[in-house]
């Protein structure tokens, strides 16, 4: 009885499938979180999952699926710019939500801005 035929192609298919499913699960979790969470700040928490984890999974998936120098360079650039811009926009949206009062104060755990406004 010989060993099963697990060449490089089948391992690559398995990794591709797993990473696609991880990214799809992140997108689904973000959709459910946007529908179910009560206010802007908690929806901001749900929105971060596909923006960082989903994009990293899918770009690593493309780099695994056809590995070349151009693909890996573009993958690193995409992950770099996405992880550079997503926290900035989340910070701006969170600050605007606090200043305009679009959040529920009764479900806050801590409010370090209270008394500093």
């Amino acid at each position: 009885m010989s060993a099963p035929e697990w060449g490089f192609d089948s391992i690559r298919d398995v990794v591709t499938a797993v990473l696609v499913l991880v990214a799809a699960l992140m997108c689904f979790a973000a959709g459910v979180g946007l529908l179910r969470f009560p206010d802007v700040l908690s929806r901001l928490h749900a929105a971060t999952k596909p923006q960082i984890l989903g994009v990293i999974a899918i770009v690593a998936d493309v780099a695994v699926s056809n590995p070349s120098l151009v693909t890996i360079t573009l993958a690193v650039a995409i992950i770099f710019f996405q992880s550079l811009t997503a926290p900035v926009s989340a910070h701006m949206v969170g600050r605007a939500a606090y200043r305009t009062g679009h959040f529920r104060r009764d479900i806050l755990v801590a409010d370090e801005f209270r008394g500093h406004d």
């Binding site: 990214a23 959709g31 493309v62 605007a96």
Partner: protein, 87 residues
């Protein structure tokens, strides 16, 4: 592989529909801009999944453009949202 494609398509479609419902219903403009960010991220994931499954890299610059300019809408809306805006 076709099972993976169907499952991933259903999950991503459900996530995109959730984001669309939040864009339509969202009580404030900030909810809508968060949901449109999620829609852009879902589009990135869908384009990348199609590339990884079909093993080509033709739309990789599209992902780079979306990752670069996805910031513009949310930052401008959050910057110019006035304090008495209750939409």
């Amino acid at each position: 592989m076709i099972v993976v494609v169907v499952i991933a398509g259903l999950l991503m479609g459900a996530g995109a529909i959730g984001a669309l419902v939040r864009i339509i219903r969202g009580p404030s403009a900030l909810d809508r801009i968060i949901a449109s960010d999620v829609l852009v991220a879902t589009a990135i994931c869908a384009i990348g999944a199609e590339m990884a499954i079909n093993r080509h890299t033709d739309t990789m610059p599209v992902l780079l453009g979306l990752a670069l300019f996805g910031i513009v809408g949310s930052v401008s809306v959050a910057r110019f949202l006035s304090a008495r805006d209750d939409t």
